[in-house]
């Protein structure tokens, strides 16, 4: 009853605070479009060198059709792997196509030849385009060749320097977690600090409202906003960026509750430390940065140094990212995700404990 009164009040305030509300909705949309289009944009005309060990009509035919896709600009032929390395280092080329010596012979003998595609991984967008174009081309040719009763050609993309490249697909589910982290922590911490700044918090803590009622009533509307943001990102991802959700949506939304609650608890903890809304905002930003860097959103978790991995592990986003990517991209079921869910629950418990220890119905 008191919870619903507090939530009702919070909703009215939220409705009148057009800026915050607008931000809560516009932020996910903007971020998604920005990230989505930047990553999705087909990178064309990638400077490419060819190392044709076979030197047959068949191998030249393959290179020609790869060039015809428009993705690769053949800038030269090289004679060994050393020269590929050199052209990568100098920036003359970012992709190398390696046709093995027995390409034509293998094709003729009914074996699957494997064409090498070496990609300079320092630019993830190049990697995305280079590998996907080659794969689809080879798949198409494979079908064509299969019709002639010849075995399919394999392509073996080989990404140098940064072997764990993510594709555009990873961005959409990742953004779900990133946006929730940013807005949930910030909105809750500010919602409480605002009351302290305006003096209404004292009026609240002198009332018989219980701690739990106050906290739950205050964060309920923000949980709703969190789900709204999540639905928006997933829907846009599905219909604009063609990222289908392979796994169970109810499972995703269920586990997301843990994640949202963990962020809200953290926001409440911040609100007990920050004196002004500005400080609350700064603290949220300060928290946001390691989330972007250490969670596996920007850089693959596996390639981070050990201390960064330890730090990354205590961020709820790290675990939520694996969960959301697992469910959306791989169709993971709950049994695949137990480890991450337990982590998330443990972090949530720790945050809630901290928040409730700090959040007292007392003046300090």
């Amino acid at each position: 009853m008191r919870i619903s009164v507090i939530a009702w009040k919070e909703l009215i305030q939220l409705r009148r605070d057009r800026l915050t509300l607008g931000m809560a909705v516009a932020l996910p949309v903007m971020q998604l479009l920005l990230f989505g289009y930047a990553i999705n944009a087909d990178v064309r005309h990638i400077r490419t060198v060819v190392y044709d060990e076979d030197q047959t009509a068949a191998s030249r035919d393959l290179v020609r059709s790869l060039e015809a896709t428009g993705t690769y600009d053949i800038v030269g032929n090289v004679r060994d792997h050393g020269e590929i390395e050199t052209s990568f280092q100098s920036g003359d080329a970012r992709v190398a196509i390696v046709v093995p010596a027995r390409y034509a012979a293998d094709l003729g003998a009914g074996r699957s030849p494997t064409v090498g595609l070496l990609v300079d991984g320092s630019d993830p967008q190049v990697v995305g385009s280079a590998t996907s174009t080659a794969s689809s081309l080879v798949a198409a040719r494979g079908a064509e060749l299969a019709a002639q009763r010849t075995p399919p050609i394999g392509i073996e993309p080989n990404i140098l320097y940064n072997p764990d490249q993510r594709t555009a697909l990873n961005i959409v589910p990742g953004l779900v977690g990133v946006i929730l982290t940013m807005t949930m922590v910030m909105l809750t911490s500010m919602a409480v600090v605002r009351e302290r700044e305006r003096g209404t918090l004292e009026q609240l803590i002198v009332s018989p409202v219980r701690n739990a009622e106050l906290v739950i009533g205050k964060i309920l509307p923000y949980i709703a906003i969190g789900y709204l943001q999540m639905s928006l990102v997933l829907a846009l991802g599905r219909f604009v960026f063609d990222v289908p959700i392979l796994g169970s949506v109810p499972l995703l939304f269920g586990i997301a509750a843990l994640f949202i609650a963990a962020n809200l608890a953290l926001g409440l903890s911040f609100s007990t430390i920050a004196k002004t809304q500005q400080q609350a905002m700064q603290m949220s930003m300060f928290f946001f940065l390691p989330n972007i860097l250490l969670s596996g959103f920007m850089f693959p978790y596996e390639s981070m140094p050990a201390p960064a991995r330890v730090l990354g592990n205590i961020l709820p986003l790290t675990h939520f990212l694996r969960i959301v990517r697992g469910i959306v991209l791989k169709g993971s079921a709950l049994r695949h995700l137990y480890g991450e869910v337990i982590w998330l629950a443990a972090i949530l418990a720790a945050f809630v404990l901290f928040a409730s220890l700090r959040f007292k119905k007392k003046i300090t």
Binding site: M1, R2, S4, V5, I6, W8, K9, I12, Q13, R16, D17, R198, G199, T200, E202, Q203, L204, I205, V206, S207, P208, V209, R210, K361, K362, I363
Partner: protein, 319 residues
């Protein structure tokens, strides 16, 4: 009489600062009890301890029989508290503010609507029901704040500087409401530093630098200071004031327009005393009469005595 509030040596420090230093007092049911003191005296800190939102560092107290440290939540259900800056939700309308406070004080849902309506009617806020609280003027804000903190009809009401920044007409109406509440049985404890308001309280407590200087009815407090006051009209008022101020037996000299108000302490005939004092410096008196000493005179005198003692204490220790 039953004590609604009772404290013993109630104290609160903030680091090295002693905000409240050993206050013992008793407030009876149905009283309008005023707490007087300059800014920083410790009034708000005292109220916060009584409301159970700030723990005392030492000493104890009970409010309606509940211990302020142990049973804070029980106290909170039974009191109304209007904070120092009327803390309303400025982005909620008048009616929404009332509904919200009715809700968090668990006014039954079936009753809330009627309660809010009658409050709107009674306070004259009905025409402004849909106005955002932030756009109300000071007087209306105060009225709404009082309505919010009494919507659950608490038997005990704490008001922290309820009339600060409010125009005289609104203050007058506000006091009418306070007296109505009190005659209906509500106990009211309020802080103020308006001396004229102090005189409207049944009893007063004077707080200065966290210490309780005196408690009693306004008449008792004034009487205990043994002050006698004269008001005079003189030629060179500034010079006259200066001459009087340095005269032993003069507690305080204050300008009131063309008049001087002189408070004397322990002087048998204040009229003759004043005449003599001004004759010595050759200033002519146009008119002179004795006036009633008031709470302000008593307060100033008490604070002055305290300051003198404080100044004397280190000297005494040194000798």
């Amino acid at each position: 009489m039953t004590a609604i509030i009772e404290t013993r040596d109630l104290s609160r420090r903030f680091g090295n600062l002693v905000a409240v230093a050993g206050i013992s007092l008793r407030v009876e049911q149905g009283e309008i009890f005023g707490v007087l003191g300059p800014n920083g005296a410790g009034k708000s800190t005292t109220i916060r301890m009584l409301c159970g939102i700030l723990d005392p560092t030492s000493g104890s107290g009970t409010v309606m029989g509940f211990d302020i440290a142990r049973d804070a939540e029980r106290i909170k259900e039974r009191i109304g508290y209007m904070t120092q800056r009327f803390s309303l939700y400025e982005d909620l309308t008048v009616a929404e503010n009332l509904r919200f406070y009715a809700g968090i004080y668990s006014v039954a849902r079936s009753e809330t609507k009627a309660r809010v309506e009658s409050t709107l009617e009674r306070t004259g806020l009905a025409q402004r029901r849909s106005q955002l609280a932030g756009t109300l003027s000071g007087g209306w804000k105060q009225r709404l704040a009082l309505a919010c903190s009494t919507i659950h009809q608490p038997p005990l009401l704490f008001l922290d500087e309820p009339t600060a920044g409010v125009d005289p007409m609104s203050r007058r109406e506000f006091w009418e409401q306070i007296h109505q509440l009190a005659s209906a049985g509500t106990t009211v404890l309020m802080t103020t530093h308006y001396m004229d308001e102090a005189e409207r309280c049944h009893r007063l407590a004077f707080i200065f630098k966290g210490r309780l200087l005196d408690v009693g009815t306004p008449e008792q407090i004034v009487a205990r200071r043994k002050l006698r006051v004269v008001e005079l009209d003189v030629d060179r008022a500034t010079e006259a004031a200066e001459a009087l101020r340095h005269r032993p037996g003069v507690d305080e000299v204050a300008h009131y327009g063309h008049m001087l108000r002189v408070a004397t302490y322990d002087v048998r005939d204040p009229l003759a005393f004043t005449r003599d004092a001004l004759a010595d410096v050759g200033i002519e008196i146009r008119s002179l009469r004795e006036a009633r000493a008031d709470v302000e005179d008593a307060f100033v005198s008490m604070v002055r005595a305290e300051a003198q003692e404080a100044a004397a204490a280190p000297a005494a220790r040194a000798s």
